[in-house]
């Protein structure tokens, strides 16, 4: 039985358990709150706070998530109290001397991290903001200052924005939890980068994923379980196309959940996996839900809920839910909700789920009714054009409203929708729009490239700029000059010698004949004709030399104009 309590204005939940005490402190802050230019700030604070209370012997940790950040510990009562009080004290006075080191630690952590395979879907669904921000690396870290950290703590790590949970005999004595005062921070509404759904976009080989956003209800979780069972049957047991076919569901905001289905395959079978997955989703949508599957899945979930460990394990989710405005739901209530779910309820969820679906797959899903998600921008900005240098291909346009890059497709980032500009000392710039559009502006690839970068720098607000460390010379893009391969260079040199000789010989002849023409007295007509022909051949040779030199430098591509 879960009961509520309060410590120093912070609401808490307690559930009686045996064994050592588990307790945690959660805040309503996560990736969802981070502008891309400050991406990583919450994680950095979590690390700094834990550094101060670091005791290697105990089982404690922190976790920064999409919507919440938490600190938790398992141990004897006095150590738990010391830990939680310590975290609060550390949040009030972060060890700023650790800033540079902890940024390094976070870089290392990101390097070793196994990203969820469905992560790109957040980006495609929401863009480079709120619920899409978590799909991006912690790109804000280099620019985060001590003042940024203090402001972030003052806004999010406050009494009013915190919750506590305890799995143990009683609320431990001695909790001070001295946090600054502030206000509860509501979750931002999820943005959408998809003009219409169901939608699809291209993913990596050997993986097909689908996700959807539906209202939270007991039927939703049963739907996710039934879907997993059907996918497993279809894709693994019957067709042998997949090894893993799984679903997952997690809350989004107060009232919604995200359901994700993922199936792996050999790269050459991903079209069939997509076909099988779509067929299963369509069957559920059409109402072909086997009541036996529904009963079995409810039974499994209820058995899990009745397990006492599960109650303690679910406590943090319940507590954090309070911060999002969700009511606490006791085990019996949850069980009653689940057992009332019928096959028709599951089919109703499936219909909703289909309509909001997003597919990530190496093969297209448009034949199955999924609109291909936009891969380019709608409009180009007006402004100064910076054409590609020989050997480069894209046209860069910089205007007062934003920038466009025109290549095979059109990309535009408007300055008022720009969420981040990464800036390298060599002049390279990466601009990211709120919808997830990415433009690389490289001074080395455009005529008057430096001027273009200067215009961009003048237009992008300083708080969106993150200064990056210098790139290695080989990381700085160059026109195809360096792209000419050995055979191009050899052919280019041969061509230059051949055409060079040709030019000299015919040029010489032309000059001699011209002299003869000017000084001679005999029949001057044919002399002039031959001289002209020789001059023409020499000009042709000169053109050949130019082409050969181009080939030597840039490879066999024709000159772009």
């Amino acid at each position: 039985m879960i009961s509520k309590f309060e410590v120093g204005g912070i609401p808490g939940l307690i559930v009686p358990t045996t064994g050592s005490m588990q307790a945690g402190l959660g805040f309503r802050v996560g990736f969802v709150d981070e502008p891309l230019a400050r991406r990583g700030i919450t994680h950095l604070i979590e690390h700094l706070a834990l550094h101060s209370v670091g005791v290697a012997d105990y089982h404690y940790n922190g976790a920064t998530g999409v919507e919440f950040t938490r600190f938790h510990m398992q141990g004897v009562e006095k150590d738990v109290v010391a830990f939680l009080n310590g975290v609060c004290a550390a949040l009030r006075d972060l060890p700023m001397s650790r800033l540079a080191v902890e940024k390094e630690v976070l870089h290392a952590e990101a390097h070793g991290r196994n990203a969820p395979v469905s992560e790109p879907m957040w980006l495609w669904r929401h863009g480079a903001r709120d619920y899409g921000a978590g799909a991006y690396p912690e790109w804000g870290l280099p620019g985060i200052t001590e003042d940024d950290l203090r402001a972030w703590v003052d806004r999010f790590f406050t009494k009013e924005n915190a919750v506590l949970w305890v799995a143990g005999e009683k609320v431990p004595a001695g909790l001070e939890l001295d946090l600054p005062s502030g206000t509860r921070q509501p979750l931002p509404p999820p943005s959408s980068a998809l003009p219409s759904t169901p939608a699809c976009f291209g993913g990596s080989a050997g993986l097909v994923a689908w996700d959807t956003v539906v209202p939270r209800s007991p039927a939703t979780s049963v739907f996710a379980d039934v879907l997993e069972r059907m996918l497993f049957r279809e894709l693994r047991q019957e067709s042998g196309l997949s090894y893993a076919a799984q679903t997952d569901h997690r809350p989004l905001g107060r009232d919604s959940v995200v359901i994700t289905a993922v199936a792996d395959s050999l790269p050459e079978n991903s079209g069939a996996v997509l076909g099988g997955m779509v067929d299963v989703l369509a069957a559920l949508r059409a109402g072909r839900v086997d009541p036996a599957d529904v009963t079995a899945m409810i039974g499994k979930r209820v058995a899990g809920l009745r397990h006492s460990d599960e109650v303690a394990a679910r406590l943090p989710i319940q507590a954090l839910g309070l911060l999002a405005g969700r009511e606490v739901c006791d085990v019996e209530e949850q069980i009653a909700g689940l057992t009332a779910v019928t096959a028709a309820d599951v089919a109703a969820v499936a219909a909703d789920a289909w309509a909001n679906g997003l597919v990530m797959s190496p093969s297209r899903a448009d034949h199955a009714g999924f609109t291909i998600a936009p891969q380019e921008s709608v409009a180009k900005v007006d402004g100064t054009a910076f054409p590609a240098l020989p050997g480069a291909t894209a046209l860069l346009v910089v205007g007062a409203e934003g920038i466009s890059l025109v290549e095979e497709n059109l990309l535009t980032v408007r300055f008022d929708e720009c969420v981040l500009m990464r800036a390298w000392p060599d002049g390279g710039r990466q601009l990211i729009g709120a919808d997830g559009t990415v433009i690389w502006a490289e001074p080395t690839l455009h005529r008057a490239g430096r001027a273009a970068i200067a215009k961009i720098d003048a237009a992008v607000p300083g708080e969106l700029v993150v200064a990056e460390a210098a790139r290695a010379p080989e990381q700085i893009p160059q026109p195809r000059a360096t792209a000419a391969d050995r055979s191009d260079r050899v052919a280019g040199i041969q061509g230059m010698v051949l055409f060079g000789v040709l030019t000299l010989v015919f040029g010489g002849f032309a000059a001699l004949l011209l002299v003869a023409f000017l000084t001679g007295t005999e029949d001057r007509g044919p002399l002039l004709a031959i001289a002209s022909l020789c001059a023409l051949a020499a000009a042709g040779g000169g053109h050949g030399v130019r082409r050969a030199r181009y080939r030597m430098r840039y490879g066999s591509r024709p000159i772009e104009r």
Binding site: S239, L241, E268, N269, S270, G271, A272, L274, G275, G276, V278, D279, A282, A283, R285, A286, R288, S363, D366, H367, A368, G369
Partner: protein, 315 residues
């Protein structure tokens, strides 16, 4: 001796005429009565034949709206939409089809796919839906893995479903990104998997006809005459048209017609004559449209006469 050539399926299978008449009368109950009484292959054949009539979309959508679980209507509508698309694409090879044609073709196929997806969701065990899905998968170039998945779904319902096998055979041709060794191996395996006397032997013959047509007709009789190919053709004949169990099930006209064509081209007038005898006035557009000027009726007439002039044919 008749000069008549009857290419319409209605002459071979009288139910086709009944279904077509019921469709023209917009009498779906009558259509269903015939379809429901037919076996799976007959049903797919009838649905296919009815779907080729012009102007059915509105009527079939209406039927489906009344009863979304009517998979016969879904299959027929799917087939019909595929047919509209294919007429826009034309039967020309891909390099002779314009971009706009391809766009419209794919657009109709996607509409068909949506109907068939919903149909399969409601009635996954209807083979006619899977036959249509095999055809649309080919037109949309969905990839061999997905097409194979669809074929396996069909085979799980009916392992010897000739209309679906015809569609899958096309997908295995190089012109649709398949390859010959895979195609011939599959055709022979399907023949051997079916009981002796069954129509599946035609897959072996049709596979060789496709191969021969791809090589270019006149220069390559050598291909059909080569011993391994000739042996396979004869083996297929022994297992079907020359087998005592070969009956008059749906598909038999296609089988006899393919053998008549291949033996005609090979110049084996006796064997061809026996097939023409079996067929009487009946014939099929495919594969005779691959011969000569592509006018199937004329080619059949000519080769039939040639076979009969030898006087080897009783009749």
């Amino acid at each position: 001796m008749s000069d008549t050539v009857l290419l319409d399926a209605g002459f071979a299978y009288p139910e086709v005429k009944v279904v077509l008449a019921a469709m023209r009368g917009r009498d779906w109950a009558a259509v269903r009565a015939v379809l429901d009484a037919a076996g799976p292959v007959g049903r797919s054949t009838l649905i296919r034949a009815a779907s080729e009539e012009y102007g059915q979309e509105e009527f079939l959508r209406h039927v489906l709206a009344e009863d979304p679980d009517d998979t016969a209507a879904a299959a027929m509508l799917g087939m019909h939409l595929i047919d509209i698309g294919w007429r826009i694409r034309s039967d020309a090879r891909a390099q002779h089809v314009s971009g706009g044609q391809f766009e419209a073709f794919h657009d109709w196929l996607r509409r068909a796919e949506m109907v068939l997806l919903e149909g399969v969701a409601r009635g996954p065990a209807d083979p006619a839906l899977w036959v249509a899905r095999l055809t649309s998968a080919r037109g949309l170039e969905l990839g061999l893995d997905e097409t194979r998945r669809r074929y396996r779904k069909l085979a799980a319902i009916d392992p010897h479903h000739l209309p679906g096998q015809n569609a899958y055979l096309q997908r295995l041709c190089p012109k649709w990104s398949g390859d010959w060794p895979m195609l011939h191996a599959w055709c022979r395996a399907e023949m051997l998997a079916a009981p002796p006397g069954a129509v599946q032997a035609v897959l072996v013959v049709d596979g060789h006809i496709e191969h021969w047509a791809e090589l270019g007709e006149s220069a390559n009789l050598g291909y059909l005459r080569s011993k391994p190919v000739r042996d396979e053709i004869d083996e297929a004949a022994q297992r079907s048209v020359r087998h005592p169990d070969f009956g008059r099930d749906y598909g038999w006209v296609q089988v006899a017609s393919s053998f008549a064509m291949i033996y005609s081209v090979l110049g084996d007038r006796a064997a061809a004559g026996a097939m023409f005898d079996m067929l009487g006035d009946l014939g099929t557009e495919v594969p005779w449209c691959y011969v000569g000027d592509g006018n199937a009726a004329q080619q059949i007439r000519a080769y039939r006469q040639r076979a009969r002039r030898r006087g080897r044919v009783v009749g």
